[in-house]
Amino acid sequence: MALLEVQNLKKYFPVKKGVLSRSVGEVRAVDGVSFSLEKGETLGVVGESGCGKTTVGRCILRLIEPTSGEVIFNGRNLLQLGGEELRRIRASLQIIFQDPFSSLDPRMTVGQIIAEPIKNHLNVSKAEVRDRVAYLMERVGLHPEQMGRYPHEFSGGQHQRIGIARALALNPLAIVCDEPVSALDVSIQAQVMNLLAEIQEEMNLSYIFIAHDLSVVEHISDRVAVMYLGRIVETATDRDLYENPQHPYTQALLSAIPIPDPEIRRQKIILKGDVPSPLEPPSGCSFHTRCPERKEICTKERPAFKDLGGGHRVACHLR
């Protein structure tokens, strides 16, 4: 059985207006997302800004309360847990944030930041907490002697390492990485990615790796899910997706990856127009407003999520 099973997850944000703050509509940030995550596996989630990637990640951890759906983690539905049970299960499902600067409390020392989850969940002595923090700092490539320093004394990459150490503190089973490297320099991106990969191997972790950069996702993922306007339009294994993309949107995304070789010429698929408003998503296939291969049926019927074999699934009428 899968470690994490997400079923038909939905999050609608109500839009309120006026003095009485009446609901005048809803933003369908996540509109029926389903996927599963095996132990030790990395699922990459890609899509452009505003497609609901981050919302999915936060709904899984219940940092945002989902509207409906199921999140089954280790055999238990997280959305039905409350209070103490939820608190305890959160120890094994962690998150790493995008913004390295706002994700650490500026008034706590690095030691205190990493020690917080340990103190909060385990009843251990001060010396043990210290040892554990020192170990974690060493593990993510920081000097344990810098325990007493404040976050503003560190660089962005080091911030991210501290965030990783904090997420690892309780030996989690899965980590939601919410664009952990998109705010970093390219050279440091690689270091952080390698660190994440090393730790995964060592601790047999599962990652949900959210990113808007396909080349970053390619580097680390086993499987990739492509999101568009709150829905998953295609999932496939890493190699399958990059070599044989099926959905027109995925094809467009892949063609936009720059190749560091000026000699190579290739056909770029350039999408026209903007992402439609999630307030009033288009009828039928949500991509039909920008799809280069649009047919009559696309505007009327919502495509089913078809299995093309080998775990390659796509939501398109034409495949």
């Binding site: 936060r58 940092l63 998150i95 706002s102 008034r107 989850p117 490539g141 004394e153």
Partner: protein
């Protein structure tokens, strides 16, 4: 040095870190650069020491400097004049052998009275601001963190019953009051029990309707409090209550918490969206720990600034009240009532007006300067980032 370098090389991303400075060191370094704020702090410390010395020297049954000792032959002596030893009994001779700041119309030593008044100003300033900051943080914190919670109609009904009950019980009809109070508690328990059973019925829709959010309630209360001209509100309350220094502190405190509430609410609203708060939630940290450990320390900077300036305002308000005769009852001296007594002799004895006036000016100015400096120092955008 060499070994250091080798060690750093093991961590490729490592930059040579600047020597670690604690927050306090950083604070004093920046304060040192800001001359005016530093002067403000220095004067404040001087004022603090003076006030404490004043308390020690002028209180007790046989104080070293007696602010209430009347020497009628020696009235309205100018500052730095020597006492006329022929007309004074031995116990009336001032300890310093000189009237440092002159004497007033009853021959009391103004220096001793100023010292006594300094302690009043200090305590009024700090206690009043302490009250307003505690109330402000509490209200602002609730509005900022729990603001989106809706208050149900039945809860409001219960609250009205409870308050009405308490009010009636203490003022007019004890029995009726207790009855209403009991009714309120019954309703509270009943509504809690019946919530599930009544689900869907038209009654329930009315009774359990969500009326307003906590945020709206508190912020409208702030707006209402700000509508009152606070000085006149204080005058009214002080006229009704027995005149004492504690009542004045409490009244000043309870009419000046609104600014802090707004600051704290604004800070909380922005902090609760920050990733480190989300991270704490994801780690299963309890919400009270999030509030006290993560949010309040990060929200304190503007509160500290407004508190510093608030102390100046409170001292000024107290002086104003004393000047109008609503403040601390005589014979206890405050800067305000020295000033008030002195205004009758402004041409014969100008020092009686100028000394307390200058003292108030300097102290209030120093607090304001320090507060302004603090705002600059605590502003992270003006700090150096590494």
């Amino acid at each position: 040095m060499n070994t250091d370098k080798k060690e750093f090389a093991a961590f490729p991303e490592e930059e040579a870190l600047v020597p670690s400075r604690s927050r306090a060191q950083e604070f004093f370094r920046l304060l040192n650069k800001n001359r005016l704020a530093f002067a403000g702090l220095a004067i404040f410390i001087l004022f603090f020491l003076t006030a404490v010395a004043g308390l020690v020297l002028t209180s007790g049954t046989k104080p070293v400097l007696d602010p209430a000792l009347v020497r009628l032959p020696e009235k309205l002596r100018p500052p730095l004049s020597r006492p006329n030893l022929q007309v004074l009994r031995p116990e009336q001779i001032p300890r310093l052998g000189i009237y440092l700041l002159g004497t007033d119309d009853l021959g009391r030593d103004v220096f001793a009275r100023m010292l006594q008044g300094a302690w009043v100003s200090l305590t009024v300033g700090f206690v009043a601001v302490g009250i307003s900051v505690v109330v402000g943080i509490f209200m602002g914190g609730i509005a900022g963190y729990f603001g989106q919670e809706q208050i149900r109609a039945d809860r409001i009904l219960v609250l009205i019953l409870l308050f009405l009950g308490i009010g009636l019980a203490f003022l007019a009809h004890p029995s009726l009051g207790i009855l209403l109070f009991a009714l309120g508690i019954c309703l509270w328990i009943l509504c809690g029990r019946a919530k599930l059973r009544l689900e869907g019925s038209p009654w329930a829709r009315f009774l359990f309707a969500e009326t307003i959010s906590v945020d709206t309630l508190i912020m409208r209360l702030v707006d209402i409090m700000l509508c009152f001209p606070s000085f006149f509100l204080i005058l009214t309350v002080v006229a009704l209550l027995p005149a004492s220094i504690y009542n004045i502190m409490i009244v000043i405190g309870l009419t000046s918490w609104m600014g802090t509430t707004r600051f704290v609410r604004a800070e909380f609203l922005s902090l609760r969206e920050q990733d480190f708060v989300t991270a704490a939630k994801a780690l299963g940290v309890s919400k009270w720990r999030i509030i006290f450990r993560h949010m309040i320390p990060n929200a304190m900077a503007p509160v500290l600034v407004s508190a510093t300036i608030g102390i100046a305002t409170a001292i000024l308000t107290e002086a104003g009240l004393s000047f109008l005769g609503f403040g601390v009852p005589p014979p206890h001296a405050t800067w305000g009532n020295i000033l008030s007594d002195g205004k009758r002799f402004i041409f014969d004895a100008p020092w009686l007006t100028f000394e307390p006036g200058l003292a108030i000016l300097i102290v209030v100015l120093s607090f304001n300067l320090f507060g302004e400096g603090l705002r600059d120092i605590l502003n992270p955008k003006l700090r150096e980032r590494y």
